[in-house]
């Protein structure tokens, strides 16, 4: 969504997207998490649970990076494609959805999967706001049984498995698209 705003002909939309992306990319995720979990309630009085604050942080973060990936994908499609589509009478939106995006997505898939993996791992940082995600759960268990060697290996494997699956999935999708293209 934000990626589309980045290539929009409207300067205002581009500006909004730019500010959002620069803010998120220019600050560490741990600071964003503290700001959303502690900072915002401090001013507004609205108390967010750790889970909600964590989800907001990760979404804002992944959104900003994905927007850049989407922009890059769209801009990798030669300008002649848009011109050809428009010259036939298609609107900008129709050209985008029928001609540009289907080609851009092929380029974007590896980077998007990579972003998913990063987001998955970034979730471990949210243990700092007390969110009982995987890493935090590991710490709690270790606090009980002191089996830190075994427990951290288990936690590591639990991150590894979904990430490996994601990687395999993306390789499979890429191969599919490759075949469809030839």
């Amino acid at each position: 969504m934000c990626g589309l705003m980045l290539v929009s002909p409207s300067g205002i939309l581009r500006g909004i997207a730019r500010v959002y992306i620069d803010l998120i990319r220019g600050t560490p995720i741990i600071v964003q998490a503290f700001f959303i979990y502690f900072g915002i309630p401090n001013v507004t009085g609205i108390r967010l649970t750790a889970t909600v604050a964590g989800i907001i942080t990760l979404t804002l973060n992944a959104g900003a990076y994905t927007a850049e990936i989407v922009r890059g994908g769209i801009q990798s499609v030669p300008a002649g494609q848009m011109e050809a589509a428009r010259s036939l009478g298609l609107t900008r939106g129709q050209a985008m959805s029928n001609v540009i995006l289907p080609q851009a997505i092929r380029v974007m898939i590896p980077s998007i999967v990579n972003q998913c993996i990063i987001t998955l791992k970034d979730s471990s940082i949210l243990s700092v706001i007390g969110l009982t995600e995987l890493t935090q759960t590991g710490r709690l268990i270790i606090a009980n049984n002191f089996e830190s060697f075994k427990m951290w290996i288990i936690v590591g494997i639990m991150y590894l498995i979904p990430i490996m699956l994601l990687t395999k999935l993306s390789q499979w999708v890429e191969r599919k698209l490759q075949i469809a293209k030839d």
Partner: protein, 242 residues
């Protein structure tokens, strides 16, 4: 009333004045070949005609529609103006037939069945019926350009613009594309062709226009322009390429 009426067309890119005042009338069914040195503004002029480039000044009326009017529905006007590009610009993720069908179907001008019939007829007309289900990257340049012509024709345009349609082709493929264009001209299509193919211009054009330095320097029948050029710049240009 002429089919295309261009008056005082100017186009600047920043400080750089590319078109300095082009006046041109094209009648229905006329074939105009535009020649001139590279950088003379001939492609820019063509691209202004369907507003791929915004004109800086002047007016362009095609079929009574003011192309330069910012309030006009340019998407609607463009349906009537087919364009063929130097680099073909086929959609590589769609089959040849899907390329041809896309615009008529998406713009709800034809049903899928109709568009498929029209598409296959057009591919047949450009000699590529058997390539309907192939993907563009597997085709030769000449074949791709013929598909691009079929794709533009699928919208049943009244006017066709060709922007150096054979300049990106290997020499042995130029002929097949020019033949399709010649056929189109004989069928009465109004065409403006920016080209370096002087043989084609001589044979097919009703009128040849020589553009240099942002102006139309000379225009006339092929016989007049190639046979008895009056302007010194035209003479120089023709000497260099012929």
């Amino acid at each position: 009333m002429p089919k295309i009426e261009v008056k005082g067309l100017k186009k600047n890119f920043g400080e750089n004045e590319i078109l300095k005042g082009i006046d041109l009338d094209v009648n229905e069914g006329e074939v105009i070949c535009v020649i001139g040195p590279s950088g003379s503004g001939k492609s820019t002029m063509l691209r202004c005609l369907n507003r791929l480039e915004e004109a800086t000044d002047g007016s362009i009326i095609i079929d009574g529609n003011d192309i330069t009017d910012p309030k006009g529905d340019i998407d609607l006007y463009r349906r009537n103006i087919g364009m063929v590009f130097q680099q073909f610009n086929l959609f590589p993720h769609m089959t040849v037939l899907e390329n041809v069908m896309l615009a008529p179907v998406k713009l709800k001008i034809m049903s899928k069945e109709e568009a498929e019939k029209v598409g296959r007829d057009l591919l047949n007309r450009v000699g590529l019926a058997e390539k309907a289900d192939a993907y563009p990257p597997s085709l030769s340049g000449g074949q791709q350009q013929r598909v691009a012509i079929a794709r533009a024709l699928a919208m049943h345009p009244d006017v066709m613009l060709f922007d150096e349609p054979t300049s990106a082709l290997d020499p042995e493929m130029v002929g097949e594309v020019l033949n399709v264009m010649k056929q189109l001209a004989e069928d009465g299509m109004t065409m403006i062709v920016v080209t370096h193919e002087m043989g084609f211009a001589r044979e097919v054009a009703d009128r040849v226009i020589f553009i240099d330095g942002g102006y139309i320097v000379e225009e006339g029948t092929p016989e007049e322009v190639f046979g008895h050029p009056k302007n010194e710049r035209t003479i120089n240009f023709l000497n260099m390429i012929l």
